[in-house]
């Protein structure tokens, strides 16, 4: 317990420097701004802004990225409430009751409930993160290469089991990502692989380039194909203060949502989407009058909002302790850390304590900033919603290209992004998801490294993966997840969830 305070005070001393405070603020502001703008989600946002953080010191860069992440989450729910346009998938549930409340003239109250619920969830999850990260990292130190390989298998399988449509296709996308991660110079032998004689490819394909192509460009092209649909925006916000009854109904839902979200967020791939759906289902099930859900019940808004924010926060746990990203956003964070020469994993806590604890504390500060930022500035966000897409998308294109170019100051990266834009567009037509690919791409080199080392240590004996108890447990868990999904009853439920999402 004492240690926890020591760590947190270190974190506060780092996070409360003027520099880091302003980067956290900038991150939150940018994140909210882009989260509010229609048609661009957190993954392309972070990919787009990622190169810009390379010029910052590592701690400041990560603090800003984290700020962008939860900022865009917040912004997404604002649009969900006001115009029934979820900025991203985890805000889909927010539309159900949040937008209904806005229609009933309680838009202001709905925004406050969402903001305060998220803030509470964020605080709780941050403390959880601070308390659980060190013991988990302890466990990770016992891991050898075989365990790491198995853990990555579990992480990758878990990510797709919980978070995507067709399982075999998602696994294929992971493997394709792993293969793309092989492009470039092989660390062990120095041989340039799959480079087609192009010198630029010897450094590998940058994940930010792939992310911007597959998420950013493909998204733009899909949005453009649909005719711009005008939205009517609720101008009347009503009182920002929830009334007594709303407060009474929302408070317990916030608590439950926080618990549920924190637990699900730790699971790979669980993250924000699953937890908001789970929380909505839970609230509806235990409510005394479930017929009020979908008609503006505060609990139907407060639960999922708290859940997805808690999950967004706790999904940093596997990243910071084990170095395994649980979703596409975390994969981008891994990339950002590697660029700053920080190998994500349990050693971060001991080798860069200021970064680790500074980041955690800044998450809490960021959450506070968001409440302060979001409620008074709501009027401004509403105005932003009126920016038409035809003005917006050339700007997004420009920022993507400038971001990609600034990675290496080489136009070659722009061409690669263009190619992945085309591929990404085809994939959206084939319903092949980009997120698993990104995870594979980031983990590819790490996975091969550990696979090779494990077999080197066992002198080529493949049984090493199942003979070591820890490794076996991890692999069995992965297998269990696959079997679980294949069970008919769960499969149906899962499909139903994803249908609702579309």
């Amino acid at each position: 317990m004492m240690e926890l305070f020591e760590h947190l005070s270190l974190g506060f001393s780092v996070a409360f420097t003027l520099e880091n405070l302003s980067y956290a603020f900038l991150g939150c502001l940018l994140g909210t701004l882009i989260g509010v703008l229609p048609g661009i989600g957190p993954v392309p946002t972070i990919a787009m802004l990622l190169p810009l953080t390379y010029v910052l010191p590592p701690t400041a860069g990560l603090i800003m990225l984290a700020g962008i992440y939860y900022g865009s989450q917040y912004g997404g729910s604002t649009t969900a409430i006001l115009v029934a346009l979820p900025g991203e998938t985890s805000a889909v549930v927010t539309v159900l009751d949040g937008h209904q409340m806005a229609k009933n003239g309680r838009a202001g109250a709905a925004l406050s409930i969402a903001a305060l619920g998220s803030f509470f969830a964020g605080c709780f999850a941050t403390i959880l993160l601070a308390a659980f990260a060190p013991p988990l990292a302890e466990v990770a130190f016992k891991f050898g290469p075989a365990e790491y390989f198995s853990l990555m298998c579990l992480g990758l399988i878990g990510a797709v089991v919980l978070a995507s449509g067709s399982l075999p296709k998602a696994v294929c996308m992971i493997i394709l990502g792993l293969l793309l991660g092989m492009v470039g110079t092989d660390v062990n032998s120095g041989v340039a692989r799959f480079d087609f004689g192009i010198p630029e490819l010897q450094d590998g394909i940058d994940f930010a380039v792939v992310a911007m192509g597959v998420f950013g460009l493909a998204e733009i092209m899909n949005n453009l194909a649909q005719k711009e649909n005008r939205v009517d925006i609720t101008d009347k916000l009503g009182s920002l203060y929830p009334n007594k009854q709303e407060f009474k109904e929302a408070a317990p839902a916030v608590l439950r949502g926080t618990m549920l979200g924190s637990a699900l967020g730790i699971l790979p791939g669980g993250g924000a989407v699953l937890s908001s759906f789970a929380s909505y289902t839970l609230e509806k099930k235990i409510s005394k009058n479930p017929e009020r859900f979908g008609k503006g019940h505060p609990a139907g808004l407060a639960g999922p909002e708290s859940a997805n924010n808690a999950a967004a926060q706790t999904s940093f746990i596997p990243l910071l302790t084990l170095g395994i990203p649980g979703n596409a956003v975390m994969a981008l964070m891994v990339g950002a850390m590697t660029i700053h020469n920080i190998q994500p994993g349990p050693q971060v806590m001991s080798s860069h304590p200021e970064l680790f604890w500074g980041l955690i504390v800044s998450m809490w500060i960021g959450n506070l900033m968001l409440v302060v930022l979001n409620l008074p500035l709501v009027g401004l966000w509403v105005k932003l919603l009126k920016v038409p897409y035809r003005v917006l998308f050339p700007a997004i294109l420009l920022f993507c290209t400038i971001g990609v170019y600034s990675l290496n100051y080489n136009a070659f990266d722009i061409y690669v992004m263009g190619i992945f834009g085309i591929i990404g567009y085809i994939w959206t037509k084939l319903k092949c998801e980009g997120a698993p690919l990104l995870l594979g791409l980031v983990l590819g080199p790490m996975m091969e490294e550990n696979f090779r080392r494990a077999l080197l240590l066992s002198r080529g004996d493949f049984l090493t993966f199942v003979e070591r108890p820890l490794s076996l447990t991890l692999l069995l868990m992965a297998l269990g997840l696959v079997i679980l999904v294949a069970l008919p009853s769960i499969r149906k439920k899962r499909e139903a969830t994803f249908v609702e999402e579309d």
Partner: protein, 182 residues
């Protein structure tokens, strides 16, 4: 034999092709032994697994129920060509024409992909973005871009061909769009 799920069928074929491709390509590198793996070992087996899983996806697509949403949506080649084209051309122009001119061309040409194109708005947007880029990226973050045009004599040959040709194509599309909207 009847394809029940078009999306999965073609995805499966794509995975098979990519898997086989990567596996074959890998054989040109040293495979090594499991204890001392060469650079070809890991990608070779990944490619094999990808091809096998792709096969499963393909076979599965032939069974099951036929659904409305399993058809492949229409490709919008105009949008694809305009967006990707303007980005690629931007890449070529950046090193030769400098950031500001390339930026204006990128913004105007890509705006053509919108269903509601308006030249006035596109130009206004371009001017705004030039100022924004200068403030945020050039002054603010200090990114090093080639800002101004290089004399044409110093352009590489491909740029001498691509830049004028793409500008002509862009202007033709622009004019036809303007005429079409009247």
């Amino acid at each position: 034999m009847h394809i029940k799920n078009q999306q999965d069928f073609w995805s499966g074929l794509m995975f098979i092709a990519l898997g086989v491709g990567f596996a074959l390509f890998s054989t040109s590198y040293d495979m090594g032994t499991p204890a001392r793996m060469g650079p070809g070992y890991f990608p070779f087996w990944l490619g094999v697994v990808l091809a096998l899983l792709g096969g499963i996806v393909t076979i599965n697509s032939l069974r099951g129920e036929e659904g409305e949403d399993h058809h492949i949506g229409k490709f919008d080649f105009d949008i694809l060509a305009l967006i990707i084209g303007s980005i690629v051309v931007f890449g070529v122009m950046l090193d030769n024409l400098g950031l500001y001119i390339s930026l204006v061309i990128l913004v105007i040409f890509s705006s053509l992909a919108s269903h509601e194109f308006s030249l006035k708005i596109a130009i206004g947007n371009a001017i705004f973005l030039v100022i924004f880029t200068w403030l945020a990226f050039v002054r603010g973050l200090g990114l090093i871009f080639p800002l101004w045009p290089v004399p044409i004599a110093e352009w590489p040959t491909y740029a001498m061909i691509i830049i004028p040709v793409s500008i002509i194509i862009g202007v033709i599309i622009l004019i036809s769009k303007l005429k079409g909207s009247k």
